[in-house]
Each structure stands twice: as structure tokens, then as C-alpha cells.
Amino acid sequence: MIPLEYELALAGILFGIGIFGIIYRKNAIIVLMSVEIILNAAIMNLVAFSSYAINPITGDPGGQVFAVLAIAIAAGEVCIGLGIYIVYFRSRKDINLEEATRLR
């Protein structure tokens, strides 16, 4: 059995890397990928907690249900995000986030 702390530490590290990517990279697609990494870290927490909760053999299925739901939503989010990028690219010929300040 892997100790819970290890799972959480790994999730935290992934989360940090994701945040770093969001802040550091200028390219919008990489930023979206970093968001995916963050989401993964979060889902992993769900799964990890569920497998350690209540019944050590089967775990708590609630966490897994949420994890599956989150995975589905994440996939959808990637579709929408990329869609926006493509539209944006058509109008601006660029998806550098430094230039994207029209919303200010």
C-alpha cells in the first residue's frame, strides 16, 4: 500500500508545475496543457482519498465517480478552449497571451 502522503505530495508537485506553466509560458496552448496537468493533479487527489477512505479494500466509490465526471468535463473543456483559440487566431493571427489584453 502506498502511503497517502506520497500521493498527495505527487499531486502537489504536479499542481505546482501546472501553475508555473500557466504563469511562465506565453503560448496559449501550453497554458491550456498546464491547466490539464492541474486538473489531473486534482483528480488524482480524488482518487487517492477515495481509495483510502472507509473501506481499505474497495475504498469509497464516491471519489471515483467524481473523478470520472471530472475527466469528462476536462475533455470537454479542452474542446471549448481549443475552439476559442482557433477563433481568436483567425481574427488576430496570433495566440500570444501577452498581446491578449483586450479585456482589460
Binding site: L14, I17, I30, E36, N40, A74, C79, I86
Partner: protein
């Protein structure tokens, strides 16, 4: 028991290295590849956590569909040969 831990550590290292590579790669295509690696490794970890169903979904939806979507996005928003 011991082997679980060994597997986990190995997967975790791949995971971390992979995600760092996602963030730092100069080329977008490489990033997409490394993202796929990360997501696949993740499903391995889910198996270690005895959540086989989640691992399956992860493999199908995430590791299968998402990188492909990204590749489409990359291709469609490519501008010249810069990145």
C-alpha cells in the same frame, strides 16, 4: 507491498519529468507528446490505487482524446515555423 511502492515511485518520477517537459518544451508538438506520456502514467497510478475503472476512463478519454485534440489545435493555430 514493497513492489507497489517501487512502481509508484517510478511512475511518479516519469509523471513529474513528463509534466515538466510539457511546460518547458520549445516545440508545441513535443509538449503534446509529453502530455500524453503524463496522462498515460497517471492511469498507471490509478491502477496502483485500485481504481481500475477510473484508470480505464483516463486512458480512453484523457490519454486518447485530449492529446489528439491538442494536435489539431496546434496545427490549426500554427503561424509560420516559429514554434
Amino acid at each position: 507491498m514493497e513492489w507497489d511502492l517501487v512502481w509508484f515511485l517510478a511512475l511518479a518520477i516519469i509523471e513529474i519529468v513528463g509534466s515538466v517537459a510539457v511546460v518547458l518544451s520549445r516545440k508545441l508538438v513535443h509538449s503534446a507528446f509529453w502530455l500524453a506520456v503524463t496522462l498515460i502514467t497517471m492511469s498507471g497510478i490509478y491502477i496502483l490505487l485500485k481504481s481500475e475503472f477510473v484508470a480505464l476512463i483516463q486512458l480512453l478519454v484523457y490519454a486518447g482524446a485530449v492529446p489528439i485534440l491538442f494536435l489539431f489545435g496546434i496545427v490549426l493555430t500554427r503561424r509560420g515555423e516559429e514554434e
